[in-house]
Symmetry: C2
Subunit: 350 residues, 2 copies
């Protein structure tokens, strides 16, 4: 009967002995060094396969100082569909590069980010991908990261010497706003998340630029609500707005949770309005909800790419990569203002 307890694994030395060579030769063979005779190489490879040898990454890492062979990903939680997508894209790309991904969550608590980053840095991860909620960044300065390459996802880096991947949410929101204005809407509401987060501020900026740029509409403070942390809060805010003397005819939801709240309110039979969401799910897409969408997997992939390239070439200057946020028309956002007046709005599309 095989012993099922912690089996010790084959070491380089054992391979060397089995092949009748020195450990140095085994190493050279494994690294495809040209300075190894054909016959020797064959003997070594045979021994490697025979014994099922795999190098011990910890020994390797110890040897050449840095390099844990894993990249850390800091997220605020996988429950977030966007971040889950980023993680998936990053993992795939890292795997292709022979790296593994250590994932660490702040559990939606921005204050926890420093300790989470710290744990990863202390572990000597090869690089760090950070998808942050907050703007804090003291813990990401070089003297805290010990030179570990950092890629920020979705947030300004300020003077940080880190790479950055973002989506151009502001431009997309601006475009969506202009589109609604073009359809005759004059009372357009924006529902946003916590303004402590960078994306919320950025998207609201886009909204305001869309309004002022048009010249035709000026902002009504009653139609802009932020600090919406749950879909339930979004529903409540929306209901209140729709009861205003001059209710909005179009709603812009600036994140997925809020979009969900608006969607539910809409399906529950709220007064009709044009609606553009942000990010989407299979259900919202299937229901014909227009939305500003991004490709989370691609964001993750690109972030991983940046990290990998910096691993290979540490001297690179910080890079910024801006990926598209696109407005996808599915019906709910293309309802002209006058149709609403006429009361012919379908609640859902077929």
């Amino acid at each position: 009967m095989p012993d099922e307890r912690a089996a010790r694994r084959v070491t380089l030395r054992e391979v060397a002995r089995a092949a009748g060579v020195s450990t140095a030769t085994v190493t050279r063979t494994l690294q495809h060094s040209p300075r190894v005779e054909e016959a020797t190489r064959d003997r070594v490879m045979a021994a490697v396969k025979e014994l099922g040898y795999t190098p011990n990454p910890m020994a390797q890492g110890l040897r050449d100082g840095r390099r844990d062979g894993a990249v850390g990903l800091v997220t605020s939680g996988f429950t977030n569909v966007f971040q889950a997508g980023v993680a998936a894209g990053a993992e795939r790309e890292l795997r292709r590069a022979g790296l593994q991904m250590i994932i660490a969550s702040t559990d939606e608590d921005p204050a926890r980010e420093p300790e989470v980053v710290r744990a990863l840095i202390d572990r000597r991860v090869s690089a760090l991908l950070v998808m942050p909620d907050s703007d804090a960044r003291d813990h990401l300065t070089p003297d805290h990261t010990f030179g570990t390459p950092v890629v920020m996802v979705g947030r300004q880096t300020g003077e940080l010497s880190a790479d950055l991947v973002t989506t151009d949410d502001d431009a997309a929101v601006q475009e969506a706003t202009e589109r609604l204005i073009g359809l005759g809407h004059r009372r357009i509401a924006a529902l946003a998340g916590r303004s402590a987060t960078f994306p919320a501020r950025r998207r609201l900026d886009g909204f305001r630029r869309g309004l002022t740029g048009s010249g035709a509409v000026e902002e009504d403070p009653k139609l802009v609500v932020s600090e919406l942390a749950t879909s339930e809060q979004a529903r409540t805010a929306l209901r209140a707005m729709l009861r205003l003397p001059h209710p909005p005819t179009a709603i812009l939801a600036l994140n997925l949770g809020i979009s969900t709240g608006v969607l539910l309110e809409r399906l529950a039979g709220a007064a009709p309005f044009a609606f553009i969401g942000f990010d989407e799910t299979e259900v919202s897409a299937g229901l014909g909800i227009s939305a500003i969408v991004r490709d989370p997997q691609d964001v993750g992939r690109q972030a991983a790419r940046l990290a990998v390239s910096r691993l290979a070439e540490p001297g690179l200057a910080p890079r910024v990569l801006t990926l598209p946020s696109r407005l996808v028309a599915r019906g709910s956002g293309e309802i002209p203002a006058d149709e609403l007046a006429a009361g012919t709005t379908p609640l859902t599309t077929r």
Copy 2:
């Protein structure tokens, strides 16, 4: 100007020198060994803090053979809401135990599982959490895992000496079926996923037990469809069923993707039917869709617990943990058969 390139980190020896002691004493201090004089300890701790020392996990890992300080999680993809939840729960629990989580995806391709597991094992992870699609398990035998503790999530282990965490899906589906029968339904349809996956088979089993157990209803092959891989396929299958001479009056969707398809078809104005889904989203819950739900975070947490406990005590016998799947009544599943006949079904709840 600070050098932003790979800063070498403080080592144990440097701390020892700064504190005027030997490295052994520093180690002892750090491990809270009682055999250290108060004054010495203070000096050491001061030096540690002063220099910002953190142990190098790779050196530690190398020293005591096994132990990478990280647990691997094999998933088929985070896009899967359930698996994302499991990952979140596991990560939190592992973090509490001072472990990190390396996540590796098979990208929905069961055939890839062996290589993914292999990469993790070769990395010498401390333990492995596996959420598999398929039944394959050759790659999880002790001679492939070298004694690394394995916890399976959601699948039978067969004779494998691994721990297991599952939810009792079959019982819940059986209960749901009986509930529908109790409401007068006699034509109940079940839509299931790929029968190559264990959960799909298990849930169908529950359905059949529910039917036969009642004695009142016998299975109609036309009302059981499996191999549904996308929500779109589910919609198509559902549409076909509703066009049968004797269409079903109740639908059981046996996974989230299928539930989504049924939900969309329902919202698009399909003929009315009682509906119970499996797993849920904020939207489906908000729309009053009854469903069999599980607590993915708890599943992850328990799996992590098992792994951690086995790390502490490797000799334990394999354990099986069955967590509940509960039927949550939200309206869509509580429609009596005769109400349908009367044509009074609301499409959504208010």
